[in-house]
Point group: C2
Chain length 279, copies 2
């Protein structure tokens, strides 16, 4: 709101002269460092973007000028620019130049967070109350999802999830026993399930697919969530996969509709290398 520099002023007064000092002049790189040059430059420019030193609309000096300034090859500089462009931080146009993108257009990859992480990210204090913990034979659809044989079992964990001491969600998580044998040894009311999996089993989830729907809560859900009358719930079914693509977790979460909403960032026009599927 209180930007002193408009794009036009920047363009004419500062950018186009190679002699003038630009905000980029302050960047120093270390060619002998263990982090590659292109990363040093991308991070340096990235923090100038984040701090607002380079405002949206700012026209960067031409690549050749920057190359000379940093004493590097143009391909190396372009590797740095490519990283910034990939995240939607800058926008290069042939014959014109490179411009800092409007902050609202920066690409935010949808990030998969655990309940604890999400609550903390929203500035709350996460807690858990364990309702039940079982090692059970899965129903056929669950067994199919986990690609299990007849006799293999899954852990079924039901917890009430609290934010700042208040019930927020009811969580029913399922994990195959094969991936985390002995899970019953851990105190799931105290520790984050994702931390246990990571630290004790070396297992991390890599991608998630979530389906979000709205429902009227049943009496059990109303009781466990202390739901006021005439309140809907947000139901999130999450399928989580590991780094090698194997299914890891199948969770159904029921959130209080009056206290929680999901947030999605999306972009228009997903031009992909892959041909469109159409399903």
């Amino acid at each position: 709101m209180s930007r002193q520099i408009t794009p036009t002023q920047v363009d004419s007064a500062v950018t186009r002269s190679t002699q003038t000092i630009t905000p980029l002049s302050s960047i120093r790189i270390d060619k002998d460092a263990s982090t590659p040059i292109y990363l040093q430059i991308a991070e340096a420019i990235g923090s100038l973007l984040a701090s607002g030193v380079l405002p949206p609309g700012y026209v960067l000096p031409p690549e050749r000028v920057l190359c000379a300034q940093f004493g590097i090859s143009r391909m190396t500089l372009r590797q740095a620019m490519s990283l910034l462009d990939r995240e939607g931080l800058i926008n290069s146009r042939r014959g014109v130049g490179t411009v800092v993108t409007h902050s609202r257009l920066r690409k935010q990859e949808q990030e998969a967070l655990s309940f604890s992480e999400e609550i903390r990210a929203r500035g709350g204090r996460p807690e858990s109350r364990l309702i039940s913990f079982e090692l059970a034979i899965p129903t056929p659809p669950v067994r199919d999802f986990f690609e299990l044989h007849e006799l293999q079992k899954v852990y079924e964990i039901q917890r009430v999830r609290l934010k700042d001491g208040e019930p927020l969600a009811l969580e029913f998580a399922r994990l195959p026993e094969r991936l985390c044998p002995g899970l019953e040894r851990f105190d799931l009311a105290r520790s984050s399930l994702y931390e246990i999996l990571d630290q004790s089993y070396g297992i991390r989830t890599e991608t998630c697919e979530e389906e979000i729907s709205a429902e009227i809560p049943n009496s059990r859900q109303r009781k466990l969530l202390s739901l006021p009358a005439r309140t809907a719930v947000l139901v999130i079914n999450r399928k989580a996969y590991m780094e090698d693509g194997r299914p890891l977790e199948l969770t159904r979460s029921v959130y209080r509709g009056d206290r929680y909403s999901a947030i999605i960032h999306s972009v228009r026009k997903n031009r992909s290398i892959l041909p469109a599927t159409g399903s």
Copy 2:
């Protein structure tokens, strides 16, 4: 499910010999074409990936072999590989090689679709019934969102959205008059709003931010959506921005909870050039 080639077999029997014919041998590039070489290669490999000719786990020939095969420089090949890597289609590791990623780990960027597009993508027939169309003075929060002055007005469009002839959602869209003056001339029951904006005003939305929550419908919503008793609704508040970052659209959609659910793809660990914000 019926893959004949396991990663190991591929590795030992096909990939590691530069003389043997690999599925990549079929790729032909045209150095004089208007599409750059690296794009030709990326698209060619991309379609081999999509068709399943290169199954997950398949080890690609070394870069130097491919370079020789295509008669191109290594940097050019790496530019193609970079595109594929960016979409999570392949995974390169120094000292090891490049492997085709498991299909579930392919990065799907969350895509912003209009109602019509989404219904069609799900295999349905979209329709609209116009309820009201007004040019009104916005409330202060709406005016703030659109960054308007005191007297500037916004179009307010209420429609019932149908899928295959059945009511699915109630949509309340708002657009600033300034961006699309004369919008009232168009038949919004017949044409897609996004198509009108694109074709008649040259306006496209670039990014969206959606907030999804669950509510109990009021009597008006129940009536317009022909909602059965004891059904919740999914409420989606969408903020859409144009290619230059200016706000374009503010829409509140109310979906039937028994017929619609939102789907989200997300990834774990969003390593970014930008320092973490923490808000």
